[in-house]
């Protein structure tokens, strides 16, 4: 696979479609949350879609993904089918984690999606281990590990970066820097606010990119993945991005201003790409309407699948606490 992005008609549509799928899936989740069909925490990726979608373009089937509790976008962009994701949101046994994980813990072995991890920093050591196994068993496979800039405060972040570099492991570290660790601004929580510079301390190549632009993210991810596959060890991407909505459904957003949110919304990755594709006559209004209709239909189908799903028998509550065998 080339490390250049060819933004032709088909690829432009793909990027737009994948970002729209995430945005609209989550809009539906909010609706279902308000209807009390989804409960618990609901962390929306709204505004950050370009990061997951851009990075996933550089990955192949053999690669692995480790995500955070804000994992809807990663799972969708990785290709986990929407029906089981929505069923998981509703706590159904047809869900991608049989209703045991919920919003924060999507898993999908088929696409090597090693889960949404809700301990900040907790996924990084696991990603390092997956990469160790891949180096031994699946030559050339890369593990993309997503985390927020809040993770940079955790010891596990630093320990994992060091391990990955000394053992030259195929890990793509993707920092989704949305400027707030819940409500704590980056500038009061980190001495070095250029998070990608932390990679320098581990002699790991790193760069900062505009996380609101899927094309720039994809280009950087392709560069990074090419370098990793060539055996050069891990790579670090800091994607500057912004979450348009609250941290979760229980957040009054006292820590940031409406003006700041409005300013970032002007850089909405979806609106920006759509505008650009239309202005350059790469796609037509008609195609956009078609794309939106197809996504609406996919979401309707996912909701119907989830609603028709069943609740796991309580007799199976303790099933999988201890495994009888290693799957496959």
């Amino acid at each position: 696979m080339s490390d250049k992005v060819h933004l032709d008609h088909a690829h432009g549509l793909t990027l737009l479609r994948e970002m729209e799928r995430i945005r609209r899936f989550e809009a539906k989740c909010v609706e279902l949350y308000q209807a009390q069909k989804i409960r618990g925490f609901l962390h929306l990726y709204d505004g950050e879609e370009a990061v997951a979608v851009g990075v996933m373009q550089a990955l192949e089937e053999r690669d692995a993904v480790v995500a955070t509790y804000r994992d809807h976008g990663h799972a969708l962009a990785r290709g986990v089918p929407m029906g089981p994701l929505m069923a998981e949101m509703l706590g159904k046994v047809e869900g991608c984690s049989r209703g045991r994980g919920g919003s924060m813990h999507f898993f999908d072995a088929a696409s090597r999606f090693y889960g949404g991890n809700a301990i900040v920093g907790g996924g990084l050591p696991v990603a390092v281990g997956i990469a160790m196994a891949d180096k031994a068993l699946r030559d050339g496979a890369v593990t993309a590990c997503f985390f927020g800039e809040g993770a940079a405060g955790e010891g596990e972040f630093h320990e994992s970066m060091n391990l990955a570099e000394i053992w030259k492991l195929p890990v793509l570290f993707v920092c989704e820097n949305n400027l707030y660790a819940m409500g704590v601004p980056l500038e009061i929580s980190e001495a070095q606010t250029d998070v990608f510079r932390k990679a320098e301390g581990y002699r790991m190549p790193g760069e900062r990119i505009d996380g609101m632009d899927p094309v720039q993210v994809e280009a950087a991810a392709r560069r990074a993945v090419a370098s990793i596959r060539a055996g050069n060890g891990p790579y670090f991407l800091e994607c500057r991005t912004y979450r348009f909505r609250a941290h979760s459904m229980f957040d009054a957003q006292l820590y940031r201003t409406r003006e700041e949110i409005a300013l970032w919304k002007e850089r909405d990755p979806i609106a920006r790409l759509r505008r650009w594709l239309l202005e350059t006559h790469m796609i037509s209004d008609h195609e956009i309407a078609e794309l939106e209709a197809a996504i609406a239909a996919e979401i309707d189908e996912a909701v119907a699948f989830a609603e028709a799903g069943t609740l796991e028998d309580v007799a199976d509550l303790e099933r999988f606490v201890l495994m009888d065998e290693v799957p496959q």
Partner: protein, 330 residues
């Protein structure tokens, strides 16, 4: 026909178990602090780096959380790692990974991922290493659903539990007692495996059950020998597996002896001994002729000075006195 028993130390038994595992399965490797060039803090892996090379006897930085987590990820992605944590006191730096990932992901993923990982760690007191190197935390770990907790108290278990642990699809924690490493014993050449499901009666007796594990096992056996000289037949039950507990063997023994003393090097409050006592109260209340007694570590950080350390731990004399008081009340 019976071949000669094989004499070896607990340490050599642990090492031979690792050597076998590495020879048997290319997916197995050892990683941890000082396991390679140094040969292991307690010399368990000494020499193995020369036999198997630095990729399979892998020295790590001092980063418990990352290398334990890496073991979890590697296990999830197809390897069969053995992670060594220098002492269980340091394992607290990796508790997030053990608890929130290893013990949780199989269930939380709806059974899509298993974590077939073995974590070995040294535990216990008795070598004047003071509070940050002497605690017994296996009882804590036995609180966590989703992992198995082993405590080899014999040369045979040190030699063969690892093989069973590696064959298990779940995360298995093995607690090797620091005092036992130098213990020497005979291995029956006819034995090449052990289970990791059942407790074992190490000495039969009819008057009182001494339920214990790890380095309290030799103390219980010494106490039983002394008690025999005074006409009291103590039965010694070696738990071997602290999670899941083998209730059946404990209940069966106590059902016969009608008296039970639990000896545990962990602290008394909220301990594995408390759990066993509670289960006996639940299930064996009407079989008991006497209250269940517990001999545990005193509730202090284990101190350095030899006499204080000794006073903090279960002692053979305490076991003897407690058994006599139970069997022959004044």
């Amino acid at each position: 026909m019976s071949a000669e028993p094989i004499r070896m130390t607990y340490r050599e038994a642990c090492r031979q178990a690792i050597r076998d595992a590495l020879s048997a399965d290319p997916r197995t490797f050892v990683m941890g602090e000082d396991v390679g060039l140094y040969g292991g803090c307690y010399a368990v892996t000494k020499g193995l780096i020369d036999e198997f090379g630095p990729d399979r006897i892998r020295d790590t930085p001092l980063a418990e959380s990352a290398f334990v987590g890496a073991g979890i990820g590697a296990a999830m992605a197809g390897m069969r790692p053995i992670v060594e944590i220098m002492t269980c006191n340091f394992s607290l730096l990796a508790l997030d990974q053990i608890m929130n990932n290893a013990a949780t992901i199989p269930h939380m993923s709806g059974g899509q991922f298993a974590v077939p990982l073995v974590i070995r760690m040294a535990t216990g007191a008795g070598r004047q290493l003071a509070a940050q190197h002497s605690h017994s935390l296996e009882g804590w770990y036995a609180h966590i659903p989703g992992i198995k907790v082993l405590a080899p108290g014999t040369i045979e278990d040190a030699r063969f539990m690892l093989k069973a642990a590696l064959a298990d699809p779940n995360p298995v924690l093995i607690f090797e007692h620091i005092v036992l490493y130098n213990a020497e014993g005979d291995l029956d050449p006819g034995v090449s495996e052990v289970d990791i499901a059942r407790a074992k009666i190490r000495r039969p007796g009819r008057d009182v059950s001494l339920v214990t594990y790890g380095n309290s096992l030799p103390k219980a056996l010494d106490a039983a020998a002394e008690l025999a000289g005074q006409g009291i037949e103590a039965e010694v039950v070696d738990l071997r597996v602290l999670r899941p507990l083998d209730d059946a063997t404990i209940f069966e023994s106590v059902g016969r002896t009608r008296r039970c003393i639990i000896i545990d090097e962990g602290w008394r409050s909220g301990s594995i001994s408390a759990e066993i006592a509670a289960r006996l109260a639940d299930e064996m209340f009407f079989e008991l002729d006497a209250p269940v007694r517990r001999i545990c570590a005193r509730e202090v950080p284990v101190p350095y000075a030899a006499h204080l350390e000794e006073a903090a731990l279960p002692r053979t004399a305490d076991i003897v006195a407690t058994a006599k008081a139970l069997v022959r009340p004044q």
